[in-house]
């Protein structure tokens, strides 16, 4: 459910802090919010190349986390429908124009014997 909404079409932009890379806004494919400790992965593949989680950060309503921190965050949540910001570093600056952006979300949902989550892929235009 809601897989088609994971990758947001708006808000795809270059990093603005001098580093090379960008930000894509992402939503969780689930009908309720979830404590961050149960967000097991938000994996990005940019133009066919996986971006290592160690080169991404995850921000919800102003709170930023490295992915290796998430398993211990039990006092913050990814709200239902909330656009999180997935910031990522690349070796080279992002080219202007279209990019292939794929995101895979894995969630640990207690009432399911297997992981939850979903995948989405869109062609996004980098905001000027």
């Amino acid at each position: 459910m809601f897989d088609q909404y994971i990758v947001c079409e708006e808000g795809f932009r270059a990093l603005s802090d001098g580093r090379t890379g960008g930000v894509v806004e992402v939503r969780m494919p689930y009908y309720r919010g979830l404590t961050l400790s149960m967000v097991e992965a938000v994996d990005l593949t940019l133009d066919g190349q996986p971006v290592p989680p160690a080169r991404t950060t995850f921000t919800v309503h102003g709170n930023s986390y490295r992915f290796d921190e998430l398993p211990t965050v039990t006092d913050d949540r990814w709200e239902m429908g909330e656009r999180a910001e997935l910031a990522f570093e690349t070796d080279q600056p992002l080219a202007a124009g279209e990019h292939d952006v794929a995101v895979s979300v894995r969630l640990r949902i207690s009432y399911m014997p297997v992981p939850g989550g979903g995948r989405d892929r869109k062609r996004l235009v980098l905001a000027a």
Binding site: Y31, G81, E82, Y111
Partner: protein
Amino acid sequence: MSTPEHRIKRGVSLYSFQEEYFLRTLTLEDCIRVAGDIGARGIEIIPEQSIPGYPHLTDEFVDTWYAWMGKYGTTPVATDLFLDTKLHPDRRLTLDEQIASVHRDIDIAVRLGATIIRAIINTPPEVMEGAAPYAEEQGVRLLLEVHAPFHYEHPWILDHLEVMHRTQSPALGLMPDMGTFVERFPRVVSDRALRDGARPELVEYIVKTYDDHGDTHALMDIMNYRHGGPVEIGLARQATHYIWTDPRSMLPHMPLIGHVQAKFYEMTDEGTEYSIPYDRIVPVLVEGGFDGYLSSEYEGNRHVQDAFPVDSVEQVRRQHAMFARLLGEQKDPVLPTPRTLGAGPGTGPHTTGTGSH
């Protein structure tokens, strides 16, 4: 035929508007307003779906909540709890932690003015038993949702009934989800599979097997034998998640039933739910003396969102028009709106008989 006297009321779970809430085309206030407009006075809310900052509720939010109730003529009825036993990556919650989680959700229900809490199906019987005293003290009822593929003779439900009968706690009971009475395979689900590229004859095979109440076990194997791919195998798996059981199976448990989740997938142009025979379910609830709310749970959105605008509001409106009729309301407070073009399969070209049903 006239409906016998009853005290069944109409409500809506805000879960019904998940598509619009997710996309922020409706705010939480909008959802409550819409429910009031439809005449669905009882509100069920999933706090961790639509209350940002859950589990912390601000006084400001609570004040706003009650103001909305007054403004839209609605009343809080139920909240839904989850039990995150896998909160931590390396261990499961202890029994005490689980009970504490339920206590926290009881506090939330009380602050929101709800007297009923949906306990999710993975809540163990001993957690229900352990939380019952606090629930009773707080004046709320913990109702285990009976959700497909579970049913009233399933071992897990029997384990829960054992606790309920043994303890005789007024705080424990059942919340039937009408998804246990899916008589026909949901059309929105099979049509979605067709749009996803499933071979029509394989979809038809699954639908026919389900509709004939054949053995859906090994349907995934048969899809494999018939050279089906992931979409067909996924549809076969879904066929094992829906069940048909006799609605009368609720009758022996009626004293424990405090709230009904009126799950639905598709209200047709003819004013019926495609898969779930409410015209036979409501009379059972009337017969059994059910005196709580029918709380809409529209769940068709996820099956039509790929190809059609989702109009959850219209779907819920149609369900309540049906309920008003089935409940024998003399003055129908829900007037069907004119059909809008392109507003979802229920209001779209299905009138010309799309699909092989």
